[in-house]
């Protein structure tokens, strides 16, 4: 066997996944991967490859997520569940600083030691793209978030190239998938019960070599086999671009992103915002499952003595009134203004702030919206009656 090195491809058989997990655990990584729990496929600590959701498919639509067992389905033929890398890199609650009172003053404790390095198995193209987006927020926009940096620097990523898309997936429109990458250490493409594994980093090569040394059967892919593996996400992308709505089953999502920043900037008063607001519950689900949403508030958490205080960062949401509450008034008091904020930030202002879209087309906001609000439909409706090209409706007669 040729030694694993960055850029090379190797076959890993089904048993090899366990060797891969073991190799990461021997390197003191906390390994996390997709598993079935509470009726969904979520990211959890993973010790056994047999806990991966082999044979499970997720059927997703606006406000709907159902698991279906299919003996013919592979290990990674599900797509994305409610969790993403955000839950681990930018956790929903995190202590930012700790203070202790002694005498007449407070002392800030040094930052705690970093957690064990994390390895995540099964990361999709959309979520790798989302990680790159959050990197820009927490590492690349001036100030550096120390907790995020520590977790990010040691993160080990085993990506998966999708070979199936849910109806809610529109990564093909956002150019974030279905092919994974860049940014992974290893990338798996499932073919006939085994995995073509592309090595994306020196660390990835070392871990794969470790797995081989421990007994995993690792063989080099031939040029033809590499071409076949590369064709898997490419064929899916072509299929996604060609998808058409049918009378049965959920409509396949896509989004016309042409000029989308200027489209939204030009339509702050579009009636569609009110139409969405008439259905939106302001429940914040879309922002919680979004892999790029980064808004947060800081809470003071004191013990009973009041002498020990943690400053905890909690995820916040632009759909909550608190998000824009000032003394005396709330900036965005209507649901329409809050939905507009979310969508315009995600698809327009994000470009000004971070040089990239804030959306990767993962579709989670559609699936996990309890009333099935579909951002692709809302944006298409705004495009169809763009204020720049649509004549204003005549004034109603008195």
């Amino acid at each position: 066997m040729t030694a694993p090195q960055t850029g090379s491809w190797h076959w890993l058989d089904a048993a090899g996944l366990q060797h891969l997990i073991d190799a990461l655990r021997r390197r003191r990584h906390r390994v996390v991967g997709p598993q079935v729990a509470d009726g969904a496929i979520v990211l959890r600590d993973l010790a056994r490859a047999s806990d991966l959701p082999a044979g499970w498919l997720d059927e997703q639509d606006g406000g709907s997520y159902r698991l279906r067992h299919d003996p013919g389905a592979g290990t990674f033929d599900h797509v994305v569940g409610p969790h993403s890398l955000k839950n681990f890199l930018f956790p929903a609650r995190e202590t930012l600083a700790t203070f202790t009172r002694d005498g007449g003053g407070w002392t800030q404790a040094p930052r705690p030691e970093a957690d064990a390095p994390l390895a995540v198995l099964g990361v999709r193209g959309c979520d790798l793209a989302a990680l790159a987006v959050q990197d820009r927020v927490f590492l690349g926009s001036g100030a550096v978030d120390e907790g995020y940096r520590a977790r990010r620097e040691t993160l080990f990523l085993v990506a998966v190239n999708c070979r199936r898309a849910a109806a809610t997936c529109f990564c093909h429109s956002m150019a974030c998938g279905p092919a994974a990458g860049p940014g992974y250490d290893l990338a798996l493409t499932e073919i006939a019960g085994r995995f073509a594994c592309e090595i994306g980093s020196a660390r990835g090569a070392a871990v794969l070599a470790d797995a081989g040394d421990a007994g995993a059967l690792i063989t080099a892919c031939t040029i033809g086999e590499i071409d076949a593996a590369r064709a898997v996400p490419r064929d899916l992308a072509a299929e996604m671009h060609a998808r058409q709505a049918t009378s049965t089953g959920p409509a396949p999502r896509s989004l016309d992103t042409h000029d989308i920043r200027d489209l939204l900037m030009a339509n702050p008063e579009h009636p569609r915002w009110d139409d969405v607001a008439s259905r939106c519950l302001s429940c914040t689900n879309c922002t919680l499952v979004c892999p790029t949403c980064f808004c947060a508030s800081v809470q003071e958490v004191a013990d009973l003595s009041g002498d020990h205080v943690n400053r905890e960062r909690h995820w916040s949401s632009c759909f909550s009134l608190d998000h824009s509450r000032m003394h005396g008034h709330t900036v965005r008091s209507t649901t329409a203004s809050r939905y507009r904020q979310w969508a315009t930030h995600k698809f327009a202002w994000w470009f000004d702030q971070f040089g990239t879209s804030g959306c990767t087309g993962c579709g989670r906001c559609i699936t996990w919206c309890p009333v099935g609000i579909d951002v692709t439909a809302a944006l298409a409706a705004i495009r169809a009656t763009d204020a720049r090209t649509t004549p204003a409706a005549p004034e109603p007669l008195p």
Binding site: G142, D145, S324
Partner: protein, 286 residues
């Protein structure tokens, strides 16, 4: 062993690192409003602390919370740092219960400054609504020094006469050459000064619009009105600067709470050039 250079608080590698300070003096200003002069406890931090007029600090009381407060003192003096605060919430109410010698924690300075470095030879018109003047006092103190501007006019409006901020300093400002005009919305019949909106003072104050830079701080609708009136009087939109206020948790463009269109008010503001935000200012509930 070489000793490490002191890190100014705003440049700390961890943006959540606070620095202990003691309240050195408290001045009652207007009803509910006090100025707190604080002194950083660590001598190296105290010596290294520098701010520019218009920037703000995050003042922190553990267990209670943190608030963004403009630095209102003279930027040439760094031994004590002044913050003029109205008691309107958890943090500012708790601050109002503190006395001289008590501790507050401080992160900063943060944000963009007033453009005071580039107005030599120009007329500067400062327009302040109520407590908005707190964010401009540092700019006024800076600009009263010789050569910093051609002419400095301060227009200050308040609801009532007792809301006129820093009244004890008006004589000194006037002696330093400031053309200071005040106006109030409502007052006892005996009040000798003008009544109305601060906007009504603007037309007289703009004498050479092409050479005028306007610095405005107050409630959003007031600032929009002032900016539009100034532009109607031929001040260039790119020479109108507003200081916005939004709730914020981090001050480093991470928490997202202070977003105003594409701008993080904490980092891209609080001082923003009007021509860059004019369309946003006109959108309700943005």
């Amino acid at each position: 062993m070489t000793s490490l250079a002191p890190v100014p608080p705003g440049l700390a590698s961890d943006p959540w690192q606070s620095h202990a300070a003691r309240i050195a003096a408290i001045v009652d200003e207007t009803p509910g409003v006090r100025t707190y002069d604080i002194e950083l406890e660590n001598a190296a931090h105290r010596a290294a602390y520098r701010f520019k007029p218009g920037q703000f600090n995050m003042l922190y009381l553990p267990g209670i919370g943190e608030a963004a407060i403009s630095v209102s003192s003279d930027p040439a003096v760094s031994a004590t740092i002044s913050h003029t605060v109205r008691a309107v919430g958890n943090v500012t109410d708790a601050l109002a219960r503190l006395g001289v010698g008590d501790q507050v924690l401080c992160r900063g300075p943060f944000g963009t400054p007033w453009p005071v470095e580039r107005v030599a030879g120009r007329d500067v018109v400062v327009v302040a609504g109520g407590l908005g003047l707190a964010s401009q006092r540092a700019a006024i103190l800076h600009l009263t020094r010789p050569g910093r501007s051609r002419r400095l006019t301060v227009l200050h409006g308040a609801k009532r006469p007792d809301g006129l901020l820093y009244a004890r300093e008006y004589e000194a400002w006037r002696n330093a050459g400031v053309d200071l005009r005040t106006i109030v919305d409502e007052a006892e019949p005996a009040w000798p000064g003008p009544r109305g909106l601060v906007t009504s003072l603007l037309r007289d104050a703009i004498r050479d619009p092409a050479a005028t830079t306007l610095l405005c701080c107050g409630p959003d609708p007031m600032m929009l009105g002032v900016a539009e009136a100034a532009i109607a009087a031929d001040v260039l939109p790119a020479e109108v600067f507003l200081s916005l206020e939004r709730t914020m948790a981090c001050a480093v463009a991470h928490c997202g709470l202070c977003q105003f269109g594409p701008h993080f008010v904490c980092r891209d503001g609080p001082v923003l050039r009007f021509d860059r935000i004019a369309p946003l200012m006109r959108i309700p509930q943005l």
